[in-house]
Subunit: 245 residues, 2 copies
DNA sequence: CAGGATTCTCAGGCTATTCACAGATAGCCG
DNA sequence: CGGCTATCTGTGAATAGCCTGAGAATCCTG
């Protein structure tokens, strides 16, 4: 059975019906807080650790369903920590946070086992989506739900990143895809430009607020072109998506 | 079960039936008082703090269901305070008050956790509506009520900002929407022009008092047009809305 | 490292919205 | 019925908010 989270979206639950448990390991507390807030809002139970020792303690105690791990840690190398965590919970899926330029190949090796990674600076939408993907695939989440989001005749596949309207394939860039996913995860709800910026753009984005308008414009061109519009502007409030007619 | 507030509107209650508790943090006492009055009128229990230290103390003591936080504080940076509050009450929803132009240069991640914000100068209707939205979604309020307001065949959706009468969609501007929401939240009750002005227009509005008449006129054109009128004038007293016939 | 795709800035243009003003209208009282 | 006042609403100007084209900068890919 699917439950409904505070904000009305369907959420992932553990097989016994309790909320999914996530451990966040990051030494930058601002980042840890940001992540923790976003994940809690998904309806998940979150614990944060600022170093390896703490992370291990919580791992034993909480037995999380997923771990979000920044591999640059002060006291203990992230990889060492990973080993110890794996010792405790061999099956737990891990989402790595890593700096952009960090040795890609090493990470690539790490993610071979079904884990995943996200580079800093990331967007919350991206982290949440990846984490959902890991949980979905790991079987920690009871409902091994579909990866499809549907609004009217518009379909978005979170796994394959494919989007189509009325059966016709639509190519989107990465940013367009994330924006659309955010809209589609909140259908019929007005989302302000600030909310969208906070969620879809990375936390260190310092640019003009009108990128949102710009990308809405791009999306409309690809999604609404000719057809009955699904993306609507609520002047002075924000944007929302809903099935056309 | 839903109780009824002093003025007859349905109100949000905590799961145990006690009133919702809100903490207001603002160093401008005039604003804090204004807000406090408006929120008390909603039937909520309100405490105000003028600085970060006080806010923290009250947070521990009161354990509020929501926090209204001005991010420009004298003693402690609003973000620092936010972190500490989150430390005490990880799940508490926060409504930020911020200057108009601050939004432009970025309030990274503020709305990330389902929080929300309102720019100064705001209208009380806006603040109350946002706060109600946060409470509704956070689950602090027992009645996880619909976002729909209904009077007769007139329906207003606070999430999608959509209004319809007898199933027929009606487009309203932002100001029209707020005015109608205020009327609909107080059905069959006469609201004076002064009350409406105080509530729907921002506190620094310096214009002619007849904007209210003007916007009532706009609303009638859109809502009552042709149909049996729902918006009524009580000459010398104000306006009220009630189901037509 | 070239070519293409993508992201983003900037600025012009446009429309919806807000609001002031003032004349028209309607209720109320004698 | 006449006059007074409260309310209604047409007109139009100023503005805010949004949209989008052009192009610079950056990133990716082979």
């Amino acid at each position: 059975m699917k439950a409904t989270s505070p904000h009305g979206r369907s959420e992932l639950l553990r097989p016994d019906g309790s909320p999914v448990r996530v451990l966040v390991v990051d030494d930058e507390s601002a980042l840890a807080d940001l992540l923790s807030m976003a994940l809690r809002y998904e309806g998940w139970e979150v614990r944060t650790a600022g170093n390896g020792a703490e992370a291990l303690r919580i791992t034993r105690e909480l037995r999380p369903d997923a771990v979000l791990l920044d591999i640059m840690l002060p006291d203990m190398d992230g990889l060492t920590l990973l080993g110890r965590v794996r010792n405790e919970l061999p099956e737990v899926p891990v989402l790595f946070l890593t700096a952009k330029d960090a040795v890609e190949d090493r990470i690539a090796g790490l993610t071979a086992g079904g884990d995943d990674y996200v580079t800093k600076p990331f967007s919350l939408e991206e982290v949440v989506a990846r984490l959902r993907g890991l949980l979905r695939r790991s079987g920690a989440a009871a409902a091994r739900s579909e990866s499809l989001l549907t609004v009217g005749d518009l379909v978005l596949d979170e796994d394959s990143h494919e989007v189509s309207r009325a059966g016709q394939e639509i190519h989107l860039t990465a940013t367009e895809f994330e924006l659309l996913r955010y809209l589609m995860r909140n259908p019929r709800r007005v989302l302000s430009k600030a909310q969208i910026l906070d969620r879809v753009w990375s936390y260190d984005f310092g640019g003009q607020a009108n990128v949102v308008e710009l990308y809405i414009s791009y999306l409309r061109r690809k999604i609404d072109a000719g057809r009955s519009p699904m993306i609507h502007t609520r002047r002075g409030a924000g944007y929302l998506i809903k099935p056309g007619e």
